[in-house]
């Protein structure tokens, strides 16, 4: 039950995009069509779900004071977390290139940029500061990724619909995406403070 709470909280109430505004670049740039948004969303779920437990293991057993080395090495956490994330993203890139070249081409530069997607590093840092245990960190990673996936698919769907509306020409596309994200973020403010344990 505890794990379901962590998952729901990460996916809806503390959504990485809409309440923390993390991982914006790829969110705005890749949300032109639902199809590519779907692909990138799945890649982010995978990367978040994998890096979170690996980073938890590294943090608890190598870096923290009670770990195997026996020294407080937490100042190295940024570099080690980034290295884990970079290698996972490289793996995902190679898999997507083999499995679906069309998706690979439409994602373009934003596939390697998952490495510097703040949502992923931010997720690992939240995990440390909130002191999750191993299974909670798995649930948090998957939940955070799922929330990111839902948000990007929602924005892509709105953008596909809004193409038929009379938006002023200079605002079409990117400008409208910025304003829509701002509005979605403000709407999400109303979910803050809900306690999923109450249901």
């Amino acid at each position: 039950m505890e794990l379901v709470n962590v998952f729901l909280k990460a996916a809806f109430i503390e959504n990485l995009i809409l309440s923390y505004f993390l991982g914006m670049c790829s969110f705005l740039a890749v949300s032109k069509t639902v199809k590519t948004a779907f692909g990138l969303g799945l890649a982010v779920i995978f990367v978040l779900g994998i890096t979170m437990p690996i980073n938890w293991l590294i943090y608890t057993f190598l870096l923290s004071e009670g770990g195997l080395i026996g020294m407080d090495l937490t100042f190295l956490r940024l570099i080690l977390f980034i290295a884990v994330i970079a290698s996972m993203v490289q793996l995902v890139e190679m898999v997507i290139e083999k499995v679906s070249p069309a998706l690979y081409n439409s994602l373009g530069i934003f596939l390697p940029l998952i490495t510097v997607n703040c949502a992923i590093l931010g997720g690992s840092l939240f995990m440390v500061s909130r002191e999750y245990n191993f299974s909670e960190s798995v649930a948090f990673g998957l939940g955070g990724g799922f929330g990111w996936f839902l948000a990007i698919v929602a924005l892509a769907a709105i953008r596909e619909k809004i193409r038929y509306s009379k938006v002023p020409a200079p605002l079409r596309g990117l400008g409208m995406a910025f304003i829509l994200t701002g509005l979605m973020g403000m709407a999400f403010l109303s979910l803050l403070g809900i306690d999923p344990a109450a249901f």
Partner: protein, 239 residues
Amino acid sequence: MAEVLAPEKKEGLFSKNNKKLLTDPLDDNNPITVQVLGICSALAVTTLVFPSIVITIAVVFVCAFSNLLTSLLRKSIPSQVRMIVQLVIVATLVTVVELSLKAINFDVYKQLTVFIGLIITNCIVMGRLEAFAMANTPWKSFLDGVGNGLGYGLILIVVSVVRELFGKGSLLAGTPLEMKMIGATSEYWINTTADGWQSFMFGWYQNNNLMVLPAAAMFLIGIYIWIQRSRNTKLVDIS
């Protein structure tokens, strides 16, 4: 064999093409409003003007030198591990910036320590490495880095001026040049004394808390794009 390849025509250091690399990112190819890179930090830093200026300087430096180094190494980086190599370069440069800021001005360092660290995950830096430095000569990459850093800084400063002015009723808070619209203490020229008739001029401003939310930065960048694209019609999205 060497004669077969005609030597490339030498280009001057500031030839027309190279100047374009420097000026393009300010408008036509702006990293934030056209390439959509580096937005997270634009949301986080821009509540105040002064941190935005410091971050701009840091990003120009990191972007230029990481582009230069990657471009020098581009032929010897195997493509399977290129991201890790790039991140090591960026992380090293960010550490250099962090330590030098600590030595130069400790107060500013204390204020900005998290944001400086986050330059590692600023997508502009890695985006330009992937898109430009891996395929171009060192000098061009260096110019591209400087140009993109400045283009990023332009948006940052425009957004932060609006957000600080309307959100906090001040400009350049935290520096000797601070100006305030709320009449408080009397050290600076614009908010001399808050009593008497001047309180009528300076004590009136109610802070607009919407401007402090990250959503406000989204709206402001959206409006900036609107203005930019109505002046520069070739950027308009036709699809």
